[in-house]
Amino acid sequence: MKLRLLIVDDNAHFLEAARDLLEREGLDVVAVASTGADAVRLSRLLRPDVTLVDVDLGQESGFDVARQVTDGGPVVIISTYAEQDLSDLIDASPAIGYLSKFDLSGRAISALLEGPGDRRG
């Protein structure tokens, strides 16, 4: 069964490129959102297997949005920053892990979902 994804990012080019790549890799991007409100609504509606949330959502903080959508399923934080630049904030968030946007791939997402770093509990 295909992994169902929700991607939350305010950059349209990225959303397009990410959707293209991940669908080529056999994942199902069920929706994309560019605001926290949309993300929460879509997350509740679609119940994705995993939600990718960018740390920069314009005026909104991706970490705040991650806290709001985490009820709907696991969350992975994504950004263009190096992981060590944000590691304190990632540790403090309910996300199960972090992915640099450059390293985005279906395999990397699956690894995070299966890995021991599940922080939902």
């Binding site: 950059n11 080019h13 990225f14 397009e16 490129a17 990410a18 293209d20 790549l21 080529r24 890799e25 740390v55 920069d56 903080s61 970490f63 263009t80 920053y81 190096a82 060590q84 630049d85 944000l86 590691s87 304190d88 904030l89 403090a92 946007k101 450059f102 985005l104 791939s105």
Partner: protein, 583 residues
């Protein structure tokens, strides 16, 4: 200074000027010394003269007694009257008043008045007949005289009579008077010289004290001391409110006013009390410093821009309970900023140049305000420069992140997608795509490094704690970090604190040769305190290396303080306090 002299001469008009008092005293002392000296000299001279005349009388009497012919004639009853002839000769030759020769019973054998011959002398003659020489001074039948009596002896030594010689004392008095006249002339000249000297001294005293009375000098010194204390505060750059309080208190005290206040004019004829003081220690004005409509002297000073004096003739002054109020403007950059007002309830107080003296204080107030304005403007300007630089860096970082990085990300994802789409058998293409992806990743890492240096994203996203922990993780020297700052701080405070720690840790890594660094951040409602210390070689200095100076500029732009304690061999501590409210 001349003004102060005038004030006091008005205040002290009931007693003569001090220099005049000194002159009187000096003249008084001179006269007393002169009189005492004169009297003493007169007494001594008179005693000397009396003794001399007595000696002269005694010498004449002894000379007469030594002539054996007198004794022989007296024993024989002087049948030839030779005693009278001889004695009268002696009297005329010596200028004596009389030369009297008597027998043992006191019967005169000689006397200037022949009628008294053969008659007994009136004076007591026992002492001379006992063999003693006697001198007496005092009144006698012939007036004041010095008299000498000696015994008259026959050749065997037996006392057969006496010789009495008197010298006219009137001559003593006339000689004494002549001597005293000379002395008086001499003393008179001395008195004159003394008086001239006293006058010269008095004039010198006046010149050296600028013609000021001692009370005026004291007042002047007190006022100068008070002004100096206030000026010192101004120079130290304490807050204007502190200067205001000092000015009202010092001014009130020096002016001997019952109350002083410093008004600050607002808009449309209003004012607020910047500071007030009263002799009784209770605030003369409403301490709430609220704004109120100005009237009376406050309005007069505001209208004229000059010092104003109002006495009890003015209704408002009388109602306020003062006899006199004087106000002077505080002029800051040509505008009337406010006024200092002093009030007196007592009689005769506030006289003289109270306006000028209040103005001395208002000028200091104006300087303090102008200084504070300059400092505020400078601090604001520095703060703006730092803020503008920070804002620029933040914007560049955001532009890099939102623009360049995102485009690179999309590019990288497209390359990934292309890689996944390469049909089997085209291994070369796949390798090329893979190399391009790796190259892109390297470029992205470089860009991340640059962005991080421009502005740390974690600071704006997570605040000081996460940002400093990220910094600590990247440091080559192990860093212990304690952050007890809950929640977010104003952005400028966070940025400054971050750069302080960043620069300090860079210095530790570059220069300290430390094994360990410790960073502590404490924040309360009003301040953030940073302490970065290491166990390195020490010797850090603001004078060396621009890093510390740059930090000081940054910290002071936020009205904070920075202190570097760097003891050679022990390590370096950088202590920074930043107020939060300015953020």
């Amino acid at each position: 200074m001349v003004d102060a002299g005038r004030i006091v001469s008005v205040m002290l008009k009931r007693s003569p000027r001090f220099s005049t008092q000194v002159l009187y005293l000096q003249l008084g002392v001179l006269v007393i010394v002169w009189a005492a000296g004169f009297a003493l000299m007169a007494v001594l001279l008179r005693n000397d003269l009396i003794a001399e005349y007595e000696r002269r009388g005694l010498a004449i009497a002894r000379t007469v007694a030594a002539d054996e012919r007198y004794a022989a004639a007296v024993v024989a009853g002087d049948p030839a009257h030779e005693v009278q002839a001889r004695a009268e000769l002696v009297r005329r030759q010596t200028g004596a008043l009389f030369v009297v020769v008597t027998d043992a019973r006191g019967i005169r054998f000689s006397h200037p008045d022949p009628a008294l011959l053969g008659k007994p002398v009136s004076a007591d003659q026992r002492q001379a007949l006992d063999g003693s020489d006697v001198t007496v001074f005092g009144p006698s039948a012939a007036g004041d005289s010095a008299r000498a009596k000696v015994p008259l002896r026959d050749p065997s030594g037996a006392i057969v009579g006496e010789v009495i010689v008197a010298i006219d004392a009137a001559e003593i008095s006339s000689r004494l008077l002549a001597l005293l006249r000379t002395a008086a002339a001499f003393l008179g000249i001395a008195l004159g010289i003394g008086a001239v000297g006293a006058l010269a001294l008095t004039r010198r005293l006046k010149r050296q004290t600028f013609g000021l009375e001692p009370a005026a000098l004291r007042l002047l010194l007190e006022q100068q001391a008070a002004l100096r204390r206030v000026a010192t505060l101004v120079a130290r750059g304490v807050s204007p409110n502190e200067v205001f309080d000092a000015v009202t208190a010092e001014g009130g005290s020096v002016l001997a006013a019952q109350s002083t206040s410093l008004l600050r004019y607002g808009v449309a004829g209003t004012a607020s009390v910047a500071a007030s003081w009263s002799e009784s220690g209770q605030s003369a004005q409403d301490p709430t410093r609220s704004t109120f409509g100005v009237e009376g002297i406050g309005a007069a000073v505001a209208r004229t821009g000059r010092a104003v004096r109002m006495d009890a003739g003015d209704g408002a002054v009388e109602r306020s309970g003062f006899r006199l109020v004087v106000g002077a403007p505080v002029l800051v950059e040509g505008a009337v900023w406010g006024a200092m007002i002093a009030g007196w309830t007592g009689e005769g107080a506030g006289s003289g140049d109270a306006e000028g003296r209040i103005t001395d204080f208002t000028e200091l107030v104006a300087t303090a305000i102008a200084n504070a304005n300059s400092r505020t403007e400078l601090a604001a300007s520095r703060s703006r420069v730092v803020a503008a630089a920070d804002e620029t860096r933040r914007r560049i970082e955001r532009d890099l992140h939102d623009g360049t990085q995102q485009r690179l990300v999309s590019l990288a994802l497209q390359l990934h997608a292309a890689q996944t789409s390469v049909p089997p058998g085209l291994e070369d293409l796949k390798t090329q795509l893979s190399q391009a992806t790796a190259g892109l990743a390297g470029a992205v890492e470089d860009l991340q490094e640059i962005s991080r240096g421009i502005h740390p994203a974690v600071l704006s996203k997570g605040g000081l704690g996460p940002a400093l922990r990220t910094l600590a993780r990247r440091s080559v020297v192990p860093v212990e970090i304690e952050v007890s700052a809950d929640g977010r701080l104003p952005e400028r405070v966070e940025v400054t604190a971050y750069y302080v720690v960043s620069e300090a840790l860079t210095n530790v890594a570059k220069h300290a040769r430390a094994s360990m660094a410790h960073v502590q951040v404490d924040a309360d409602d009003s301040h953030v305190r940073l302490c970065i210390r290491d166990d390195g070689v020490g010797g850090a200095d603001f004078a060396r290396g621009s890093g510390l100076i740059g930090l000081r500029d940054r910290v002071e732009a936020l009205s904070g303080t920075i202190e570097v304690v760097s003891t050679p061999g022990i390590g370096t501590s950088v202590l920074v306090t930043i107020p939060i409210d300015t953020g």
